[in-house]
Symmetry: C2
Subunit: 483 residues, 2 copies
């Protein structure tokens, strides 16, 4: 008999059916009740064994972490907590698990610290929390692909290894095939990259945006979804050295279209998860509520995880310009009482404390801040036509989320070749390094816009996890590339 | 007025509707007929201009490659070749394109070599061939996500940067954050990786399989879809240094289940593309037919692209063991007439000429070869219980496609800890480097299987492109990391 997945047993199998389930034992109580999980759902199937009919040697091997196959009949449950249970006729011990060893792992059913769970990233998939997180991570990914596919976008794989270093988005990892112990040198005594695999120095990408623009200016609507890298030595709960980004790019879209697209996408993702991952979400919601109880009252979230998702789905994001944001901050009591650590004035970038004030205290919803000063935004962002002299702004937008900070950063791109060349010069970018990017402004240039969504930050928001290392299977951080 | 995408104009807009389209001019004939393409479909919209009503200065800017916005009314077409056309009322020149410069690019409407198109990878998206290829590439990707999602698989992002070097799948790229001009050295005079970002040497992944196994042994059914890397100096039409792989892994699946899954997936992808990308496929089909005419008769394909796709959808793959394959080859006239260059005998790996003979001459369909000698397969493949002494085989399977060669490679994995440890020793793999992998065989180990699909090879098969560099936006090959 083929095995039936537990999600199918629990949601679409008639009482009275004989079936086989296979999975891992989460618990075995009173020599009678097996909680069996196969990863298809957070819910374990309760299987009931009449221990008098089974060999004691077999029963002894039904331990937490062991893999078993159970043949039996689905019946209405006698106990509370589940509507059906399996009356077991046959037990197959597939893979044992030594209880003494299991006790040292995250599989032992008790509360473990998230740090300990990270050290056993290979086993944490077997816990309720991480089962839920990684099923939902899949859901977020699928929702994104479906959202864009249904709108007629084309998925573009931007290159991971790149010789382009123009974005200036941060420190990059070098990629080389040279023998590090015997680096070839040229006459000047520096590394001879002509002997390297690509014949020149190359890096891991920090963004697929520039390449996405090339595709958008032909295919119309595209998006990337790929890994990006930052060699920044920041050990925070919001940063990874390797993370995934989604970067849509749309020809003929202006900044307003861009904001509309981003807001629609974020709402779509939240709704998709609420609609399709109710059990996992309910578990994470309860988990967060319990955790909140351990915190001082003034540090607790105002809304539960489920309430936050509903709130995003059902409310418009607040859209304000950077200039307006500065006004709001300077007119706040918070500012007047000198509660901000960092200065607030036009021309200074917003700090995390300012963003949090706007999102969490002032507007209490996701906020889109637009039209930032050009000075602290990237060279490719479009100079606003109405910029005041000395107060030049660009058509940028950042979407800030409660508890997360920047979820999305985007802009309308500079499509005017002459302005773009000015910006390259001002940013110290050699035109020769970006000849292909500039080419698109020579041949039928059009207004276009796009943004980047940090995938892991989105997964944090929809799962309520507060450390980014807990929403990616195998986090890469300074000093950490295990597994 | 919001612009309407050309695919919507051509497929779901009523005659008589007034609308705005925006796109790039493919051709402008007789000062009257504009072929406008916006990338949403391979089909250009014909727009008709009454040149007497327009400024000559405007008309002059309607050149190949220029971006224009056209406002007009959709009418039934007067000419042949299209059913509707746009009667233009207003023209907006959005971005000009200097005709002398365009002439030097792949946008110039004439036949270009694929090599020339590769040099202008940033502009080749604007050609019919590459528009079709990259729309279909999106389709293949989406079909894969949909196939697995609908079956209840979870998408796992395996790490790209990895300290694990166990697979032995080929040369790896090093990733480092050290200053290459001033490498820190330790007392022994070798590179001091404790100062590197991760505190040890790390590489770009060659496969996400081992990590996928970790997830499958908890979540049940998972797949990866990510970039993988080989630092091999092979300049062939079938190899890239950076390519994308799909690696499903399923707990409780044996080798037969594994083959069933792979065959179903490959058929699903082909059918999805036939069903959803008819126009792009028809174009590529005609393109290939024309190209075939330029070849000697005996080198031409027996089937057209569309026929090959139908054939895969409608026919079972041939499944034979390696041992049977050797028999077939040794009994062939081809062998007897000494037409194989490489030797054929049990224990020697199959060469490309042997695989091609089996697929293209003997069985004339995709062939799955199973149960290879253990000696030339990876350490993690499951030793067959029925292996003869000295003729040990493993539960491996390779799927060979006509014109492509190996499309899929997979196996049942060795789930027995003792056998796996033997294999590690035999392959010179330190158990300490794979402690996390071995752990899964200690805690509820189960039979499980998976495979790897080379994404670009699949895109080659469904587009008929014969060089792998022509199915990825920005190919990375030895000496080549442009864009």
């Amino acid at each position: 008999m083929k095995r039936t997945k537990i999600i199918d047993v629990l949601t679409r199998t008639e009482v009275g059916t004989e079936l086989v389930v296979k999975g891992w034992v989460r618990a075995f109580r009173s020599n009678r009740f097996i909680q069996l999980n196969d990863g298809s759902t957070i819910n374990s199937l309760q299987a009931v064994i009449d221990f008098e009919n089974f060999d004691e040697a077999v029963l002894k091997k039904i331990t937490t972490g062991a893999a078993v196959g159970l043949t039996g009949v689905l019946i209405e449950s006698q106990g509370s907590g589940q509507s059906v249970e399996l009356q077991v006729k046959e037990v197959e011990i597939i893979g044992e698990a030594n209880p003494d060893d299991v006790q040292k792992t995250v599989m032992q059913p008790k509360k473990h610290s998230l740090e300990f769970l990270r050290e056993q990233a290979h086993l944490r998939f077997r816990t309720n929390v991480f089962g839920a997180v990684f099923r939902i991570r899949h859901g977020v990914s699928y929702a994104i692909h479906k959202f864009f596919n249904d709108k007629g976008f084309f998925y573009i794989h931007a290159p991971i290894i790149t010789g382009s270093d123009a974005e200036g988005a941060g420190e990059m990892f070098h990629v080389t095939n040279l023998d590090m112990e015997k680096l070839p040198k040229n006459e000047a005594g520096t590394v001879d990259y002509s002997e390297d695999f690509f014949g020149k120095p190359v890096n891991l990408t920090v963004s697929g945006q520039l390449e996405a623009e090339l595709a958008a200016l032909a295919l119309g609507q595209v998006y990337t979804f790929g890994p990006t890298f930052r060699a920044e030595n920041s050990n925070t709960s919001r940063h990874l050295a390797e993370f995934w980004m989604i970067e849509p790019e749309v020809a003929f879209n202006d900044l307003n279209d861009n904001m509309d697209l981003a807001e629609e996408m974020l709402k779509y993702i939240c709704k998709y998860i609420v609609d399709n991952f109710a059990d996992d979400l309910a578990f994470l919601n309860e988990r967060e509520k319990a955790e909140q109880q351990t915190k001082p009252v003034n540090e607790r979230n105002e809304l539960t995880l489920l309430e936050r998702l509903d709130f995003v789905i059902n409310n418009d994001f607040k859209r304000i310009t950077y200039t307006e944001a500065i006004d709001v901050l300077m007119n706040s009591n918070h500012y007047k009482k000198k509660k901000f650590k960092y200065e607030v004035n036009w021309g200074t970038d917003l700090q995390s404390e300012h963003e949090r004030y706007l999102v969490e205290k002032e507007f209490k919803r996701p906020v889109i801040i637009t039209d930032y000063p050009a000075a602290f935004k990237a060279f490719y962002m479009r100079r606003n036509d109405n910029s005041e002299l000395g107060k030049e702004t660009v058509a940028a937008m950042d979407i800030l989320f409660p508890g997360i900070g920047e979820m999305v950063g985007g802009s309308q791109r500079e499509e005017r070749l002459d302005v773009l060349k000015e910006k390259c010069a001002a940013f110290g970018i050699h035109e020769a390094d970006l000849w292909w990017y500039l080419d698109t402004r020579k041949f039928g240039t059009v207004p276009h816009s796009g943004f980047g969504l940090g995938f892991e930050r989105m997964v944090m928001f929809v799962t309520g996890m507060t450390n980014i290392r807990d929403v990616i299977p195998f986090p890469r951080t300074p000093g950490n590339a295990e597994f």
